[in-house]
Subunit: 141 residues, 2 copies
DNA sequence: GCTAATGTAGACACGGAGGTCGACATTGAT
DNA sequence: ATCAATGTCGACCTCCGTGTCTACATTAGC
């Protein structure tokens, strides 16, 4: 449905959201979310470019959200790393088409529904209440 | 949203649906849908395994639908070649979880909505009324 | 039965997403 | 000013979905 990069981004963002305002370093995020440490860098870079997180180098540095968790939608996180394919015009460029062919309409509708699902969820909605048994952050073995 | 293989399958099925009961050979389907001729074979094999089409070799042979177009849903076509990822249980296998973590619930919800979109559409709904300007079958140049 | 049209099958090639590695740059604490 | 913790960047590797190639099997028509 979405790329694993997008899932990584969501896990990382949700983890940071659970750590209030402190800067969290990459190793800690990687340990908690099991996103590969080096790959996490690329994900965080994209989240930074999308202005969802900010970073600070040096001891005590790391990453944190730029905005409160209830003001960030899951859709923003997903689109920061992974464009959801929407079909707004005829893929053949036939300008005369007022509307898409039924098949293209269906494909676009599927994309639209996914977009809606992610747009309706705020990051704060994704925080697990009972932390002890959360499964969104897999355990390292 | 779905793989290009799934889009190929939909285009091929919709094309066959527009040819009533006659057997359509692979070259004709490939020309009409611009699905690469050799790759189309693999797609058709999967559609055959899913019992959506039947084939006949020899001169005058080819492929055709096994059931009427209004009794096949787009979801059947898509799932014949491409599983839509649903999350029915905790990915960590924590049996104690009565319900999924919020994040996994969201991901599953996205998959569910896509499934619904495709389940609601029959192949017959995807046939273009005005054939002259259809864009679902790209023109070879 | 022969031939041509067609489908069948498996091995191989390509490209992009996912993932790793090593050298470098920046900052906080002392 | 120095050092260590941390982030930054670019090159590389790997795997799998996509797509191609070549040889083989089956059948309609004569």
């Amino acid at each position: 449905m979405i790329s694993s990069t997008a899932k990584y981004a969501l896990r990382a963002i949700v983890y940071m959201a659970g750590q209030s305002d402190r800067y969290v370093n990459r190793s800690e995020i990687s340990n908690a979310t099991l996103v590969p440490h080096e790959y996490l860098l690329k994900v965080l870079n994209q989240l930074d470019a999308a202005e969802l997180v900010e970073s600070r180098p040096g001891p005590g540095g790391g990453y944190r959200l730029r905005r409160p968790a209830d003001e960030i939608t899951a859709l923003e996180v997903v689109t920061a790393v992974d464009s959801i394919p929407r079909i707004t015009e005829c893929p053949l460029g036939l300008a005369e088409h007022e509307q898409l062919c039924p098949l293209h309409q269906l494909l676009d509708d599927a994309g639209k529904r996914v977009e809606e699902a992610f747009a309706e969820a705020k990051v704060s909605d994704l925080l697990s209440r009972k932390r002890s048994r959360t499964c969104e952050f897999p355990q390292k073995k």
